[in-house]
Every structure is written in C-alpha cells, then in structure tokens.
Assembly symmetry: C2
Homo-oligomer: 321 residues x 2
C-alpha cells in the first residue's frame, strides 16, 4: 500500500509544465510497491507511472536506477522507460521528493507461477544480465554480507521473539557465509529483487520487468538464487524441482553458466534466503502494533534457508553441472 | 487506502470471460476510496474501474447504486457507466465479493476548491437532482436522524475523550434536530457525499462526479448543505461566503429553490455537520492504535456545527430568499 506523499493537482500541473506530455487528465495513487509513492498518471500523451522516491531510496542512487532502465529498454528488454523533461532530464522534484515519470507497462503479475512462467523468467533474467553488461554506472549492493550483519545486529535478541533460537541460527549462518561467500564468480548488474510481483505477463507471454530499485553490481548467479527462492517453492514450503529446472535451464540457454557458478548455487541460495529472512525480520520487528499493513512472514525464508542448508549439489535444484 | 481484497489474475481472467472487454492487459489496486476495493483495469477494450464491494456496502443496495449511475449517465450527467456482461447484467461476483466494472472517468479532484469550482459544483448538483427525479428505485438514507442516534449511542461517553463535553453537545443537537428536521421539504435522490474527492475537473472544467455509494432518497436541499460544509470552509475553519454564494447561486439557477428550502439551510447545514461529525467520531474511536491509516478529524465538523448553530438566516450563507 504505497502512497506516502500526497500530491496536489496544482503541484503536479506545475511539474508537468516541464514535460511534453500535454494536459493532465487523471492521476490516482497505486496500492503497490512498498518503498515509494506511485501514481498512475494519464495525460493527453498517454498513460504513465509517476514515482516519488521516499526516504528508503538514496537520492544518489537514482541516476543508476533511471539510467539502467533506459539502458535496458534501449537494448530491447521490456521495462519502463524514464520520460525525459524538456531539458532532457529524467529526474525531477515534486512535493519535496525526487520524482520521475516512467512509461506504463501492460501486464499482470502472476500470483501462483507455473513451470512456463519460471522458464520465461529464466530467459529474461539472462537477457537482463547480458544487456546490462556494458552499463557504465556502478552501484554497490547495500544488502550484501556487510549489510546482512547490520540487519542481524538491528534485530539482535528480539529475533528470538519471532522464532525460538533464531538469533543464533542467523549468527551461525552469517559466520558461515562470511568466509564462504563466492565473491570471485562472474559479476554484473543484477536485479536483486525479481519476485513474481515485479514480472508482468499478458496471457502466457512475459510482457516486462519492473522495479529496479534494488539493482546493483554483484555476482550474477546470486540473482538466479533469489529467483529460485521466490518462484520455485510451493505454498506448503516444498521446493518444486520442475520449476527450478525450467528456470535454470532457460537461464543457461541464454547465458551459459560456468561450472563454478553452478556449484555455488546451494551457497548462493542460502545467502539469498538469509538476505530476505533478515529484511523481513527487521520489518516484522519494527512494525507498530495494530498497523493495517501486515509485513511479510520472515519464517517463510527461515524454512527456505534450512532447505538449502541440506543441499549439497546444484543438480538437486534441477540442473547438473 | 482501499484494497481490502486481493484478486488473482486467474480469478479476474475467468470473471472477464463474462464480458466483451477483450484480453486482460493490466490491473492495479488504487489507493482511493475507503469503503470498497478498487482496481484500475486495462483490457483490449480500454480502461475501467473494477470495484469489489466490501462489507460496509449492503448487497441489497447495489441495484440502486448501479442503476442510478446508468440512469444519470443516460441523462447526460458525466459519471461512470456500469459495464454490462454478456448477459446484460452489471453486477457480478469476484473473489467472494459482489463486483462491478464501471467506465474510467478522466479528471482530478481539487485539493483546494476555488470559487469557480464551487459554482461548477452547484450547477452539477442541481442537474443531478433534476436528472434523478424519475429514477424508479428508492433507497432510504441510513444516515438520517435515526442513524445519527445509533452512531451517537455507539460513541457514548467515549466522545468526551476526543473533546471535553462532546457527548452532551451531540446529545443536545440530536434532541434539537429530532423535532426540527424539515422532512416535508422537496425530496429526491441525493448524492449525500459530494466532497471534493468525488468531483473531477480537467483544468477548470468539471469532468464528472463519482462514488454514488451513499446516494439515497432524502431532502434535496440537504445535499446542498453537505456541499456547503465540504467545499466552502477554509483550512482555518472560516466560512467563505463568496464560495457559498457561488455554490448556492449556481444551484438555484438550474433548480430554483423554494423559500422554505432556503430558510431551512441553517438547520440542514447543522444536520449535515452533525452527520459527518458522528461518522468521523465513530471511525476515530474505532481505529486500532498505531494504524497507518489516519481517520479524518471529527473536530473539524464540530467547528462547522458550532458555526451553523449561530446562523439564523440563509442570506448569511450568501443567497437571500
């Protein structure tokens, strides 16, 4: 439920004078996304998304995010294209927030991804990695091993109020991953948050990818591990190897993985599980009692972490080296 | 912030098979309205609003609301038109809720209405009353004098926690209005909730009226009193007689008011102030602590009530009998 900043029609009208989009016809707050305020914007020129960047997004990172979308769109990846104002600049300011207008992308996100969706995802993820290879700006992953440690410290012993012994489980895992993290694997720009609600389909066709606000430079296979967690587990917590195989094979067909990358998948999947366990845990602990917005369940990712801790070979995910 | 029910793409796809709207291209929850779940729907045929009716809207009232919109649209009032399915029926069921698709209406609502907006409002309100005169279905006003009493009882002495002495103020006002309510004035279908967020403008032109889910049969001049309260007071609580005059004159030019109606305005404005004071008070008292959705301030309407209690003549609102 994401409208944190209200925008008046006067402010928006003045903002739009900087753009060649014609008269303002309509704007409505969208109840999607959790980091920013998003509005569906209709002008004489068409339909757009207006985003106001709230405090969780660093202003210094915006040229990376907006530049990446433009770079990817130019390379043929279906993603929103930032709209430039009359001065040729995509980033503006509205209601005291950094703001940008991006093109509206048709498609719906799939609540229960099937095997075919996972295959389409694997293909587009590899295309994304290849298309971003020559993007010139860099952004460090704020949610890498050092970031996990900060989150774990922030949760502290309160973690045990969510699940008995969770603080120690997290500490042990952090200790293990700190030494084992395979930082030498092929790196590039990764999406880092490619959950089902960020991938649009029209019918069975993947129509686009959105929400690049966690994108950063990191190990490419880690992106795949995030997707394995987000797309290939069933509601009952079980891993669906058919979906995993579809995802990994489709990725591998577009961008051939090295043996090292494949062998690192169990470790990367543990890392990805820990990362989302930690952010969900902190959100869970920080939500005010009685709030209408219910944070996502951190324990879903504890179950995934435990699953991956027992995996020894990448072939158990569905693809042999 | 109104998305109470999530809809899966599968359920929506199946629902849309009943309509001649073509393939589903996009749907997004809209953070507007407080009673129902609203989605912006894009199909091959165009843009629409999909509404799921939540429990505060009685299912038995839906034929009145949808029929009224259709009646008004046919008479030339700019308002959403319910879309009928292949069987010619506008009301369906989706995700366990009554649901309807209505046309998307362009326009933005005005955060700070000016005199010209009040004049446009007065004109459209009179046109609405005239157009609805031969609408065949009736709906009792659930928020008339008997409804106010129920709300006051529900708040009880807790009202005093919001403002010292409020429980007695409300009781005295209820007592006064119970005997003085001018039920013999000309009646018709009223909108009953025509606040600025329910009236759209494109530039200075009024482009449409939305949200008919409080509409009912009642005293027509009471609708005007609701608008006086909602549009003609400044943020500092002062009444702007220029706006009031613009609203009343424009209404009167389309639908000539009787002397009795004009003379009843102070009493009707008190009634309207009490009605919104009471609903806001109960919402205020019932909101869980820490909730992210902040209810509207009931005391804004206490100040309006006190203003009207001191008014003796309709001419003080800007229009003489």
């Amino acid at each position: 439920m994401a409208v944190y900043t209200d925008v008046s029609e006067d402010e928006l009208g003045a903002f739009l004078l900087n753009y060649d989009l014609g008269e303002l016809l309509s704007f409505k707050g969208i109840a999607e996304g959790v980091e920013n305020s998003n509005f569906l914007l209709h002008t004489k020129a068409g339909y757009y998304i207006l985003t106001l960047y709230e405090k969780r997004v660093a202003r210094a990172d915006l040229p990376f995010f907006l530049g990446l979308m433009e770079h990817l769109a130019r390379k043929g990846i279906n993603c929103p294209l930032p709209v430039k104002n009359k001065k040729g600049v995509a980033l503006g300011e509205l209601s005291g927030r950094p703001a940008a207008i991006i093109t509206f992308l048709d498609g719906v996100w799939v609540r229960k991804p099937q095997v075919a969706h996972c295959a389409a995802l694997g293909k587009v993820l590899a295309q994304f990695h290849l298309a971003a290879a020559d993007f010139s700006i860099e952004r460090k992953n704020a949610l890498g091993p050092a970031g996990w440690r900060k989150l774990a410290d922030s949760a502290g012993l309160r973690a045990n109020t969510v699940f008995d012994g969770l603080s120690k489980i997290v500490g042990d895992e952090l200790h293990h991953l700190a030494s084992a993290w395979p930082g030498t694997l092929p790196r590039g720009v990764i999406h880092a948050d490619l959950f089902p609600d960020n991938v649009f389909f029209i019918g069975d066709r993947l129509s686009g990818v959105i929400d690049f606000y966690f994108a950063c430079n990191d190990v490419m296979a880690y992106d795949l591990a995030i997707c394995l967690n987000a797309w290939c587990f069933e509601a009952d917590g079980s891993y669906n190897v058919t979906k995993g195989k579809a995802l990994l094979s489709a990725y591998n067909a577009e961008r051939k993985m090295s043996v090292d990358e494949l062998n690192a998948l169990p470790l990367l999947a543990r890392s990805a599980a820990l990362r989302f366990l930690l952010t969900r845990l902190v959100d869970w602990l920080d939500v005010p009692p009685g709030a209408l917005v219910r944070p996502k369940d951190p324990l879903e990712y504890l179950r995934k972490l435990r699953f991956h801790q027992r995996i020894e070979h990448a072939r158990d995910y569905g693809l042999a080296a």
